[in-house]
Symmetry: C2
Subunit: 301 residues, 2 copies
């Protein structure tokens, strides 16, 4: 609940495919309250975004209120399409798009994603994490890795997003572990550091063998009673290894920051360390709010 | 239906995870009748195999009848476990295992699969296609590729299976096309030869980029209106290209036969042709029956 003595000045919203998260912010950019909702973009038709937002944050509104939102809320299937900026582009968003609203006190600004023409690539949401990280680390140059369902590697130089590349590694891991014959061989949780290291080495050194290594996990389960936890960790290492082999032009000899959930980020930091590539681990959730705050400040000028 | 004037001498059965196919054979190894069933191994508990078989071929039995079966029917979850032979091993099966039956005239022999200890690998069913191909091509040396859900590359020398390697390429294609974000970008059918060639080249030349290439299919759909048929063909080319990059020690400079369904086999033959590796395409269904016939002949000694 909002402290009734402190007025909400503006609202920060991270609105993804599956979930929505909102923060009530004071004029001095402190967090007054938080709200979450399972009404992600994927569940909403265009006219259901405003009701979903008001259901979550309605009691924070006691006068004209500005909302700044990032993520899939700005996609073609979202509340309003916020056309992509094109790399190279500044790390602070311009051209926020106003979403149609009916509530008299509500103004909603949506942050655009970023696209790259060649090779074709897109991001929505990560651009806000990037600007949040840069707001906290002014003038930082290097490469940001944002691991997740669709892991991004982003080259930052002179306060610009120069180029980026997306890897479907996280989604491959989930799909292979749950939807293929390997579901019989891979535990739903648990871990084995040595198996991860072995998979990582396989992926880095012989990435072309990926489809054979996958079947080996099955065969090792059948013939050698390989434990499901080891198979799970080796699959993760294999896929991250193949990704690191391809992303080498990004990370080799660069300053690296890894922004994401703590468990997955640590895997990337540890994997990069085996390649003599030290990386800094950054907590994703505080960084998203920093990015939304930077966008609000720029909006207010 | 069986011709009533000609008695069924024995029955050949190809019993996989999803389906079962049976042939009534004369004493001179001609096909008298065929039957198919959707009662694959995956749908049956151990005590339901005999009823499922009799439902399909019961009216062929008019006296003592020998059945020879290959495939997942011999797995641990099948009718009876037929323990794997271990490479290197002869191309004709030994140690067929008799399945428990209650019908007084029925004797069922199950062909064992083949395993490899290091790297760990298994096959069940393909060994029968291999012996069928060798029965028709005595003394053949070279490499057999059996494309499918789990594609096998098999090195044959001096009538022995020397080594083999399984690639999960077919299952990856199906799973990625249907169960990931790419389902929005990939047509359920249709084709584009140029897009296949492009994907093949990507996979062969830079296999480590696989997870990035996958996301590019999505981004090209969003940004460049890439047609779903082109995305489908490029995904197929990419995955086959990555496989060929890894299987190169198998096919380089070798005599190659490709045994499988005609459409998929042709993709492999065409892909190998781009690498100056000519391959012979062989029809899988007649080859399976030839392998079952070879096993029956050896059984009868």
């Amino acid at each position: 609940m909002t402290d009734p003595k402190i007025k909400t000045d503006w609202v920060a919203v991270d609105w993804g495919t599956s979930n929505m998260r909102a923060w009530a912010m004071s004029a001095s950019d402190t967090v007054l309250a938080e709200a979450t909702s399972d009404q992600g973009m994927g569940k909403l038709t265009r006219d259901r975004f405003e009701p979903a937002l008001l259901a979550a944050i309605g009691d924070w509104i006691s006068g004209p209120t500005t909302v700044v939102a990032c993520g899939m809320v700005g996609s073609r299937q979202g509340w309003v399409e916020a056309p992509y900026a094109t790399v190279p582009c500044g790390i602070l968003p311009t051209d926020l798009v106003q979403a149609p609203t009916t509530h008299p006190d509500l103004t909603v600004h949506v942050i655009p994603g970023i696209k790259q023409t060649n090779p074709a690539d897109v991001m929505r949401g990560e651009e806000t994490q990037i600007s949040g990280f840069l707001a906290r680390n002014p003038g930082w140059d290097g490469v940001i890795c944002l691991p997740g369902t669709h892991t991004k590697w982003v080259h930052i130089s002179a306060d610009e997003v120069v180029s980026f590349q997306t890897f479907m590694t996280g989604e491959l891991f989930d799909t292979i572990a749950k939807q293929t014959v390997l579901r019989h061989s891979i535990a739903t949780n648990g871990w084995d550091d040595d198996a991860f290291a072995e998979g990582l080495d396989m992926g880095l050194s012989r990435p072309e063998r990926i489809a054979a290594r996958l079947f080996s996990l099955r065969a090792n389960g059948l013939l050698n009673d390989m434990p499901g936890t080891a198979a799970r960790a080796q699959l993760s290492g294999l896929l991250i290894g193949v990704e690191l082999a391809a992303a080498k032009p990004y990370w080799l000899g660069q300053r690296i920051a890894v922004i994401g959930s703590s468990g997955l980020s640590k895997l990337y930091v540890d994997a990069l360390a085996t390649q003599a590539a030290p990386a800094t681990q950054v907590n994703a959730s505080t960084i998203t709010l920093a990015g939304l705050t930077a966008a609000y400040k720029r909006l207010k000028g």
